[in-house]
């Protein structure tokens, strides 16, 4: 790991509690109605600048993690508890990584499947019955390249009483990414423990 990466990483990590303290102080009192030359305004402005710098640093370090292998090895290996102190641990790491990769792939395939299917079970008024039947099931498959496209439940124009409706994965993309990150770390560590046994 390069020297400046190490320094920036420390600044970022020490910045986390500092940001929390500053956020608490800045949120204390009604700064909007306070004197523009007063300490609350100054504190808020200062906090804004510090937060912007810290966020910029976070973004820069995220990019550095992708580009710099030594930084990745030093930071992510520690975060995920990867230990390669000798050849046996290197082999175990390789096997656990393979198991984690394949498991992640399986989970991603399942999530993709869950994100594109649309299922709706509902009842329509008797005057809308088809062949005397008011209970309906509609199925659909939808794939959107961008999130802005609205998800449409099939047959939503018909007045109806929904019994069950599913139109894509309920989690937000941020939550999903976080679940995948935590899931990968957990599964890797479970795999290593299983291999060591």
């Amino acid at each position: 790991m390069k020297r400046y990466d190490s320094v920036l990483l420390r600044v970022f990590l020490w910045g986390i509690p500092a940001i929390a303290i500053l956020a608490f102080l800045a949120g204390y009192g009604d700064w909007k109605s306070a004197d523009p030359a007063g300490w609350q305004h100054l504190l808020n402005k200062g906090f804004g600048i510090i937060l912007a710098l810290w966020m910029g640093l976070a973004l820069f370090l995220s990019l550095r993690l992708i580009l710099s292998e030594p930084l990745r090895d030093a930071v992510l290996a520690r975060l995920t508890f990867i230990r390669e102190r000798d050849e046996r641990e290197a082999i175990l790491t390789g096997r656990a990584t393979k198991a984690t990769f394949l498991m992640s792939l399986a989970v991603l395939i399942l999530l993709f499947g869950l994100s594109v299917i649309q299922v709706s079970v509902y009842r329509v008024p008797p005057d809308r019955a088809i062949h005397g039947k008011t209970g309906m099931v509609t199925l659909g498959v939808g794939f959107n390249l961008f999130d802005q496209a609205e998800r449409k439940i099939p047959g939503a124009v018909v007045p109806r009483r929904d019994i069950f409706s599913y139109a894509g994965f309920p989690f937000s993309s941020s939550a999903l990414i976080l679940i995948l990150i935590v899931g990968q770390i957990l599964f890797y560590n479970i795999s290593v423990r299983r291999l060591i046994r």
Binding site: R85, D86, E87, R88, E89, I196
Partner: protein, 76 residues
């Protein structure tokens, strides 16, 4: 994979040689540059060391590799 593939079981005499030298697993591990868990795994037969590590062990004990590791044949 061949159906007739033979599985070679590596039998280790490491624990005997270590006992002769009156060393702990930790001490041996430090001498040959691995972790104590690796020495324990080799002794239990759970892990077959690389050729490099086998040579390192042989050099440390002043013996041939065959004096530390032998092979038992069995069909898979």
């Amino acid at each position: 994979m061949s159906r007739c593939a033979m599985q070679l079981k590596i039998v280790s005499r490491l624990h005997i040689l270590r006992a002769e030298k009156r060393m702990t697993q930790e001490q041996l591990a430090r001498e040959i540059g691995v972790t104590r868990a690796t020495v324990a795994a080799i002794e239990r037969g759970d892990y077959n060391p690389s050729l490099e590590l086998a040579f390192r062990l042989a050099r440390f004990f002043g013996r041939n590799i065959e004096a530390i590791f032998s092979v038992e044949e069995g069909e898979r």
